[in-house]
């Protein structure tokens, strides 16, 4: 089957019920997307499919009909996305393991809602677990990224 990931087409030969997460990590080497629970309960594996945030650990690859974007497709160390720069400015990450998923979830929120309130941020982000407890800075970084994306 064929998948478009971060703007690039990939031919892959795997069973259609294989979760996207493991296709990305083990078959394609895109290890920025993380395994946390395997049951869509922590958000570490969040990617975009057709612009929507999905949990790749429970998304069978055979059901994907739209382009996939992973953390590697959002921005790179040399060309940071606005949201990644906001994360750096707020020094959000501690262990950092959940942050790919947090950023993908937040990016999907901002694409849909350019000026989210605290409550809207909480509602969108509550599926993303962080055991280091970086939530206060994630929320601040989302507000900051929203402001920059609005050109404010």
């Amino acid at each position: 089957m064929e998948l478009t990931i971060n703007g690039k087409k990939h031919r892959i030969d795997v069973p259609p019920d294989m979760p996207l997460l493991w296709v990305l990590r083990d078959e394609l080497g895109l290890v920025g997307t993380k395994f946390g629970c395997g049951v869509a309960a922590c958000g570490a594996c969040t990617v975009h499919v057709g612009g929507q945030a999905v949990r790749s650990c429970v998304t069978p690859v055979g059901e994907i009909k739209a382009p996939v974007t992973t953390i590697e497709g959002i921005g790179t160390p040399d060309r940071l996305a606005v949201i990644q720069q906001a994360w750096i400015d707020h020094q959000v990450a501690q262990c950092g393991y959940c942050q790919s998923g947090q950023i993908m979830q937040a990016a999907a929120l901002l694409a849909e809602n350019p000026s989210p309130t605290n409550l809207e941020i909480d509602a969108a982000m509550q599926g993303n677990l962080c055991r280091c407890g970086t939530y206060p800075r994630i929320r601040a970084a989302i507000h900051d990224a929203a402001r920059r994306l609005r050109g404010g």
Binding site: V31, G36, E72, C95, G127, L129, R131, G133, T134, R139
Partner: protein, 750 residues
């Protein structure tokens, strides 16, 4: 390569025996300076175990696990400050397992003394000896909030000495007196205008003897220390390019997982893998003795195949149900105490005939807890019959290397271990089980790299848990507070179990860890005694963020609140009075947090506030938690914290660590509980072992004070007071006293 250096040796002869939580040492000859483990390649120079310089630039070795605490950034800052480097102009690397990176303060934390008290001369002598022992034992470990106390002087000296050596090389090159030279941002300057970079000078400096005690900058001249510097790991961690152990990728690599007896420590009686063997992509089934492993062409296949294996598991070596386990812990009160590390005055006399109205009593319980690091346990190994390489996020590289070597029958020197970023540690990765299993899996396929990843279900059901504990407290109350206080704590011993597992011996004598957070609090009470009782229980337990303080903080500070309320006293004022003249920095953090929160001792209807204080890992930390009743349940709305680390090397990072410790503690207090049924852990994944999320975590304000003289670490001290502060706030809100954790058994949270 490198150069021969004079190794200064000093002998320490300890008269009869030194007592560290009961460890007796005979006479040892301790090397002052262990060998530099860095093996520079062509074009590379190393001046000491912490610096590697090549044509590309300077690499600082930061030999502690980066598991979120930001320590690699601050460790690098210690060297960069004295070496005079531009921030961000260097790389950092964890470095290999080596005695050179032993953590010299790790064992001193086990001294059975109250840390807030000045050390006597004999205690100072023991402390000095104990700082040498980790080098002897190659105890390279990240834990106990010890990285900064260990490195604060050591790594600045390394930077200062290297700077002197590089300046001496420049002086020789230009034939000028070294005193005329200066440095800036990695370059040596000469008044005539000549300049040379450290990179170009390094090869000329290798035969110059470094000064033993170079002068260090006064704090007033610090550029990076004492300031909030940008963490060095942020760009990698927001772009998905930070390499964690689980991200290891090697040519021809296969993917594996394991399934160990869920009755922890039990045998595997038999297994039938015929179904799994037929599954496409499965390459090998491995008999691990107490469990099975599957090697496949991807992780998902391995996960499915391992669950398709039929296994008959043996029984657990402990009572199979939670109630019976707790009863076993309770039995420990019947035995003589293992320790009475606080025994001030005469509690026996004080409790012999008190007025019944003056007595306050309570019993508390805390459950087993899992760590749930976000990155599940994993390790990757490449075994080739005469050597092995292992990639694993871990907190104890020497032990992990040695245990992996032992498992596959290789000498330690044939095993290379690489420590990438850790997706959380919290004490879980001080163990080596994940490395040992990965080594065994790789041994089944010599020449092929094998990455072994645990399913989250395997991770939660095969942890080294924070032990459950029970405490019995009683007090005789005077007008302004307790005049006599007695606490008895019963729990299985983390110190004993982990020492046996990690070091092969169990220290006899008093176990500080069992009672820390209860016996060592800076309160002046005339008759004050704390006993620790060992529970005999073979459930795997280990270091969980703040260790004994994590349950004793809850017990001791819940009881402080009960005592205050029994007499109608303000819980802040009562504590301030008890601290007066005992430890002023502790009193000041409590006073500070009360000011920050605008504490009045009174709260309006629908709002509750609670306070707690714990002195742990050298850092007195006071916290106030606020809760509010709402239509969808109780919300934790605010938290205030004040702490004192002596020297605040990176204030922003310290505040982040306190916030992190609070959220970790509140998560456990609200909902954390590991229970057993039929010998197996009942919780398996985040749906039944959850933690606070963004929507139910409070806003947190933190202040960092510097009234203490000694520097302390900050990875753990935020956690202990958060749990009692919450329970005390809930009492203020509802009038209901929670004596058992987790609190969601008694309260409905939003």
């Amino acid at each position: 390569m490198g150069r021969a250096r004079t190794i200064a040796r000093r002998s320490f002869l300890i008269g009869s025996a030194a007592i560290l939580g009961g460890i007796a040492f005979g006479a040892y000859k301790l090397e002052q300076e262990p060998e530099n483990p860095l093996r520079p390649g062509k074009g590379e120079t190393t001046l000491n175990p912490y610096l590697l310089i090549d044509g590309q630039g300077i690499t600082i070795i930061t030999p502690r696990a980066e598991m979120g605490q930001g320590n690699q950034t601050t460790l690098a800052a210690l060297v960069a400050e004295e070496l005079d480097l531009a921030w961000g102009s260097f790389r950092i690397m964890h470095g290999p397992p080596a005695a050179a990176y032993a953590n010299s303060t790790l064992l001193t934390a086990g001294l059975p003394v109250k840390d807030y008290e000045e050390r006597s001369s004999i205690q100072q002598m023991f402390e000095g000896i104990l700082k040498k022992v980790p080098t002897l034992l190659a105890l390279q470990a990240t834990g106990g909030s010890s990285a900064m106390p260990d490195a604060f002087v050591k790594m600045r000296l390394v930077g200062a000495a290297a700077r002197q050596v590089l300046m001496a090389a420049a002086a020789r090159k230009w034939n000028v007196p070294v005193g005329t030279l200066s440095t800036r941002d990695g370059v040596v300057h000469e008044p005539g205008g000549r300049r040379a970079s450290y990179v170009e000078l390094a090869p000329l400096a290798v035969d110059i003897e470094p000064p033993a005690n170079p002068p260090l900058k006064p704090a007033s001249q610090w550029r990076y220390l004492g300031k909030s510097v940008p963490r060095l790991d942020q760009v990698a961690k927001v772009t998905g390019t930070a390499a964690y152990g689980i991200d290891t990728r090697l040519d021809g690599m296969l993917y594996a997982t394991i399934r160990i007896n869920p009755r922890l420590g039990g045998e595997m009686l038999s297994f039938d893998a015929s179904e799994a063997e037929k599954m496409p992509g499965v390459r090998k089934i491995v008999d691990l003795g107490n469990g099975v492993g599957v090697i496949a062409t991807n992780t998902w296949l391995a996960f499915q195949a391992v669950q398709a294996i039929q296994v008959e598991w043996g029984a657990a070596p402990y009572p199979p149900e939670t109630d019976a386990i707790m009863a076993r812990i309770e039995q420990a009160f019947e035995e003589a105490p293992n320790s009475s590390l606080r025994n001030d005055g005469d509690t026996e006399a004080a409790f012999s005939a008190p007025a019944p109205d003056d007595v306050v009593e309570a019993e508390y319980r805390a459950p087993f807890l899992a760590h749930t690091t976000m990155e599940p346990m994993n390790a990757t190994a490449l075994y080739t019959r005469d050597s092995m390489r292992v990639w694993v996020g871990n907190q104890s590289p020497v032990i992990n290397r040695d245990k992996a070597a032992e498992a596959v029958g290789l000498p330690s020197k044939a095993v290379e271990l690489i420590t990438p970023f850790l997706g959380g540690g919290f004490g879980r990765r001080s163990e080596y089980d994940f490395t040992r299993y990965a080594a065994l899996m790789a041994k089944a396929m010599p020449g092929t790299p094998v990455k072994t990843t645990w399913r989250r279900e395997e991770d939660i059901t095969h942890d080294y848990y924070r032990p459950a504990a029970i405490a019995r407290f009683r007090a005789v109350m005077g007008k302004d507070g307790p005049v006599a206080l007695e606490g008895k704590i019963a729990a299985p011993s983390v110190t004993r179990q982990s020492s046996l597992r990690l070091a092969g011996f169990a220290p006899p004598g008093p176990d500080r860890g069992l009672v820390e957070g209860a016996f060592d609090q800076p309160y002046g009470i005339a008759d004050y005694r704390v006993d620790g009782h060992f529970a005999n229980l073979d459930i795997p337990i280990g270091f969980w963020r703040s260790v004994g303080n994590s349950y004793n903080g809850f017990f001791h500070e819940s009881f402080m609140d009960e005592m205050a309320h029994a007499r109608g006293l303000d819980p802040v004022k009562m504590r301030l009075r008890l601290m007066k003249g005992v430890h002023e920095p502790s009193r000041l953090v409590l006073e500070k947090v009360a000011t920050m929160a605008g504490w009045t001792g009174k709260t309006p209807e629908g709002i509750g506030r609670g306070v707690a204080f714990t002195y742990s890992f050298g850092a007195p930390t006071a916290e106030i938690i606020e809760v509010r009743d709402g239509p969808d349940g109780i919300r934790i709305t605010r938290a205030w914290a004040a702490t004192d680390v002596g020297v605040a090397l990176d204030p922003r990072n310290i505040r982040a660590q306190i916030m992190s410790g609070i959220i970790y503690g509140l998560s456990a207090a609200v909902m954390g509980e590991i229970t057993f049924s039929d010998g197996m852990v009942e919780q398996e994944n985040f749906p039944d072992y959850d933690a606070l999320r963004m929507n139910n975590a409070p806003r947190i304000d933190v202040e960092v004070l510097e009234n203490k003289t000694r520097i302390s670490g900050i990875g753990e001290p935020g956690t202990p007071p958060s749990m009692p502060a919450l329970a005390n706030a809930l009492f203020d809100l509802t009038g209901k006293r929670a004596r058992n954790l987790p609190l969601n058994a008694m309260f409905d949270f939003a």
